[in-house]
Amino acid sequence: MLELVFLLMAAVAVISALGVLMVRDIFRAALCLIVLFMTVAGVYVLLHADFIAVVQVLVYVGAISVLIIVAIMLTRDARQGQPLGNLKYIAGAVAFLLLAVIVYSIVTTAFTLSEGAPLDETVKPLGKLLFGDPGYLLTVQIAAVLLLSAILGAVAVIREK
């Protein structure tokens, strides 16, 4: 059953990712991207990462898609996507080769899998890991500073002279 769900999600994810590339109307490409984000959230649920799945929906579907759609709306002249560049065939060959190499190395590597059962819910342990004493508290604060400076930088770049 889980395998069927995974195959369905993987198919939807790959098709919508291809849709982002192929669809001419850039607004519809953005809608394909939202479908992809939702499917990736489903994959996280399959991986027992419930908190990450919720954050994925909040941050990607809620915030980043809205930013991208606003960008599309404000640059309306170019809504009809331009054709692909001249690099298409070389890039396609390189991408296909890279995929072949990655898949080959994934299949031939012997990962040391753990037999342990996954955690039932990850919110509490994640919170302890992020804010606890032997944890990532400093990194969380650096991330906050990074977000603040990104917002200030965006405002500074976009301000009218």
């Binding site: 790959v14 982002v20 990450i52 991208i68 996507g81 690099l87 298409k88 040391t112 405002v155």
Partner: protein
Amino acid sequence: MLTLGLVHFLILSAALFVIGLFGVITQRNVIKVIMCLEIMLNAVNIALIAFSQYIVPTALTGQVFALFVMVVAAAEVAVGIAIIFSIYRNRESVDMENFNILKW
């Protein structure tokens, strides 16, 4: 019937990453390039969480890393779209051909 394992998630991640890479190289609309970058970051997150789940299921380190990747992605999109707007204001275009201001 296959049994769901680490390999399947990694192959999905690799496929999404390669699709995003192809898009970043070939697309001419800058907003589409940013969208493809997001696809690549999502692919990396899937790989991180799959490794975390199958190799250290109780340590959650991969999930913490994925959270920080999301923070950086949000910051990157905000700054990227601000740069697109400010170039669009000068050039009236979002075509990659016109984004050569820094070239000499």
